[in-house]
Subunit: 385 residues, 2 copies
Amino acid sequence: MPASPFVPVIPAGGAGTRLWPLSRRSRPKFLLDLTGDGRSLLQSTVERLLPLADHPPIVVTGVDHEESVREQLAEVGSAHVVPEPSPRNSMPAIALAAALVEREHPEAVIGSFAADHLIGDHEAFLRAVGIARRAAEGGDLVTLGIAPTHPATGFGYIEQGAPDGADGASAELPSGAHRVVRFVEKPDRERAEEFLASGRFLWNAGMFVVRASVLLDELAVQIPSLAAGVREIAAAHGTAQHQEVLERIWPRLTSIAIDHALAEPLAADGKVVVVPADLGWDDVGDFAALARQLREHRKAAESSEGEETVPDAGDVRVLGSVRVDAVSSRATVYGATDRLIALVGLDGISIVDTEDALLVLADEQAQDLSVLVARLERHGLGHLR
Amino acid sequence: MPASPFVPVIPAGGAGTRLWPLSRRSRPKFLLDLTGDGRSLLQSTVERLLPLADHPPIVVTGVDHEESVREQLAEVGSAHVVPEPSPRNSMPAIALAAALVEREHPEAVIGSFAADHLIGDHEAFLRAVGIARRAAEGGDLVTLGIAPTHPATGFGYIEQGAPDGADGASAELPSGAHRVVRFVEKPDRERAEEFLASGRFLWNAGMFVVRASVLLDELAVQIPSLAAGVREIAAAHGTAQHQEVLERIWPRLTSIAIDHALAEPLAADGKVVVVPADLGWDDVGDFAALARQLREHRKAAESSEGEETVPDAGDVRVLGSVRVDAVSSRATVYGATDRLIALVGLDGISIVDTEDALLVLADEQAQDLSVLVARLERHGLGHLR
């Protein structure tokens, strides 16, 4: 059993332009119920972590979403919301949470998990976090690595060392943890295939478990002003000066991802550990991923059966209350309008029906959606983002 | 020059379920502007025929559409609207028009042309009708036959005899006219390919030119009650009894297509003539045909050009005022809503965006739309037809 108290940290940010117009600036991905189970991704993330939490989870989010986040959290349990005055990428958000935890619980281990990913296997997740917590108590930065199922080019990779002290450095690690050799940024297809074939590489899902004090002390070595800044904000927490201190310091913090600020340099120093895990994890990064999720987990839309002259509806999944009828179609439909949506002969198409925008997208080109969203502004349609 | 006066007849009916939800029961295909030139198919049909008409064209339409038809006709010129109390297929409609013409102009030749087809080559059309009128003055039933461009299975075919009297029966025909051997109903693919290869077969586009009195006299032989019925209705036209006579007789008239009632039996008797013609004709029978038309005739939607990082919009045609943005898509969009329609990676897709129904259809399965429309009723959505 881990000895130190555990505090979950949930950075809730990100534009999610690859799920537009389902996700909008005003309603980002983590606030959406993308599984149809009645809970947003944020709510599911908090619920998954609550059984592990020795103190309330900390959710760091933009001031624009603070109110929506508080409303959603009120439905699932106790959590502490920390608003960011402006987006500064993941390192300042996680470091601020670490500084708040360090002040109250100096021995605590934090675990940082994105607010907008899906985890299918809760048991495996709890087991992996348990191993990661024990490894983190030894002073390492610990990450969960996802066993890759295909040569994905959309994720960064983690190269793990040999297990069980064979590389001379892992002897002290708990079973199931491996020293990390290096982090690798999103590879091209060829390298991704090499990674998959080697069996040594894992997907980087951005899940980090570490003592709050270790994170801040290591950050103080890498980017001293950032560590000092968040510690100063945390010190002012609960005082009359807090808002003034936050607004003065926050905009000057280095905007950087935790991977670049800490994980990569610490891996080079042999201070990072990975716990390989098969969690049924999905970052639901675009409509192709979401369609795959819904195809696995949700039943097909009602279709007219039992009549010889009616071709099969095919395989149509619906998220939302919209009414759909289909002939020979494999498609995913998102909508809550009161229109009928009729589909004929579609193969691998996603449709998002909203009041002010309609998207029709071929799943295999789901990545290209960001191109279209990026130019909304230029076409005078920025209000639709 | 033809010697007899010419009166165009335009049956304006048909459900057009293969263009739903663009066409509806309350707004059938012939009332729609499907080319974006500001005129409905009915208006274009009337305009095309007006230069030939010695007396105002007669438009026969259902009572439900009488008002819309009158409004549209007021914009393009003088025409006579004859309402049908109920749909009885094409023969009663054309025969009633013939009876009205016969009463006023006993020597007149009528030409019957569907209200919802497109003709691309007006010159060729005028030439072909001129030949057909001269042939019709000889007492034959004359049809225009479309030179087939592919082995279509959605049309009936006309087999023409040898030209120039070689078959012993065509010596008296004007140049460009051929005796018809037989009419053939929609063939399967294999027969359609044989027809195309033979060079003897033409598409039956339902265009008939004939003396009004010949049509009625021949009909009196084939279906005596039908000929007598329409002549009785025509005799009452303009009298106080007209409505009573119409409502008494019309429901008892045989519901039958002109092809079965007259063209097929008269062809067997050697009394039908065809004028082969290359008219740029299209019956715009489904969304695949409409997409083809719009691809040939309309410019692509505006797309963002000149920026290296933006993939091509592709080839997107838009009918209506809806705003469309696309990435790498070949698609056709119909809509007048004020939503943005965004397309990514589509290939051969038609999208119809209306207030109460959205259709997304693969053009290559356009024929299957009728299956879906047919079951609207069963799903309690009959009001959407």
